[in-house]
């Protein structure tokens, strides 16, 4: 097994256990004690805080163009965001973004 394989399995196991403990937390151990208000407030924003932080650098400096900002990928990202905002439908936004991406890549090839 290579070092990379070991790292992947380590991530899978620890992430699996950690995620399980998060899900189990109140239901399994803490019971009826309420989450403090400030914590509940902050927890509501975890997805909107983490996911854009991962996506933003990948959009602006894509790996495939060796970090060169790419109008095609920027447009595809904007279309995804726009369709997602308008329709509130994740799947539709993905489809619109991918069609934009592949369409523009095809036309500019």
């Amino acid at each position: 097994m290579s070092g990379f394989d070991l790292k992947i399995w380590f991530v899978i196991l620890v992430l699996g256990i950690g995620t399980y403990l998060i899900r189990w937390s109140f239901l399994g151990a803490i019971g009826n004690r309420a989450i403090p208000e400030w914590a509940a407030r902050a927890l509501r924003y975890t997805p909107v805080a983490v996911l854009p932080a991962i996506a933003a650098p990948l959009v602006v400096w894509p790996a495939a163009t060796e970090g060169q900002t790419d109008p095609v990928r920027l447009t595809a990202a904007a279309v995804t965001l726009g369709v997602g905002l308008l329709t509130r439908n994740t799947l539709l936004a993905i489809v619109a973004g991918l069609i934009t991406l592949f369409g523009m890549l095809y036309l500019s090839a």
């Binding site: 950690g18 989450i35 909107v48 932080a53």
Partner: protein
């Protein structure tokens, strides 16, 4: 007084509750299967083998965090950063867990342990709604309904991950699949931008992540995420106070 719907729900046997949960969960297959396929495809591109892909989908069973982990593995980010980022994505599930306590808190430890494993966005959303609409359900009816939603949502996710992996190996490198992940994340975030607080949080997250790219890989996320969470919480509080004053 009970509505006809409530009376029907109360009269169901556990087996019928399970079937009811299963049927109500069916529309989610339309979302979960493409996601699972995409996860399999991207994992194959990242160099994972089938056992690892299934390891993620069975042991972690949380889409967004699986995508996060695979992306950061591809970037060769340090293990600690991969784990913290992916776990942060799942923190919202602590809220799900807490809000189910009034409904499932009296189940046996074993049953609660199993519910915890199957607690994903879809099973939670359906179940909490069903429990709140039918507060008089017995515990076995609640658990059976939850089990129905879980079977319907989780099994297709596993199958789709495996199929996606096979598909990923067949797709030529020249396809711009590198960009499927940012598109997926943007598409997940856009419908969440319901309030000024959510928009402010996402905005801070983006700006901070771009500024912090000068830092070693992955570290930027760990700094950007808490900043963005704090922003969301503060803006929410401000908005509430404004509303109170009006």
């Amino acid at each position: 007084m009970l509505t006809p719907d409530q009376r029907r729900a109360l009269a169901r046997s556990p087996a019928q509750c399970l079937r009811h949960g299963f049927v109500q969960s069916l529309p989610f297959i339309l979302v979960l299967v493409p996601f699972g396929l995409l996860f399999g495809v991207l994992s194959a591109e990242a160099g994972l083998d089938l056992a690892q892909v299934m390891g993620f989908s069975v042991l972690v069973l949380a889409g967004a965090s699986q995508f996060t982990a695979v992306q950061l593995l591809t970037d060769h980010a340090p293990t600690v950063i991969i784990l913290l980022s992916a776990l942060a994505v799942n923190l919202r599930m602590a809220m799900y867990s807490a809000s189910l306590v009034p409904w499932l808190g009296d189940a046996t430890p074993r049953q609660r342990g199993l519910v915890a494993y199957l607690l994903i966005d879809q099973t939670y959303a359906l179940s909490i709604q069903h429990f709140e609409n039918n507060p008089r359900l017995r515990m076995d009816q609640r658990l059976a309904y939850f089990a129905g939603t879980a079977i319907c949502a989780c099994v297709p996710w596993l199958i789709a991950s495996a199929l996606g992996f096979q598909l990923g190996r067949a797709i030529p490198e020249s396809w711009a699949l590198d960009f499927a992940l940012p598109i997926t994340f943007l598409a997940m975030v856009a419908p969440m931008l319901r309030s000024p607080a959510h928009i402010a949080a996402a905005g801070v997250s983006i700006i901070a992540a771009l500024v912090f790219t000068v830092l070693p890989s992955g570290l930027g996320i760990l700094l950007a995420a808490p900043l963005a969470m704090a922003t969301g919480a503060i803006v929410e509080k401000r908005m509430e106070r404004l509303k109170g004053e009006l």
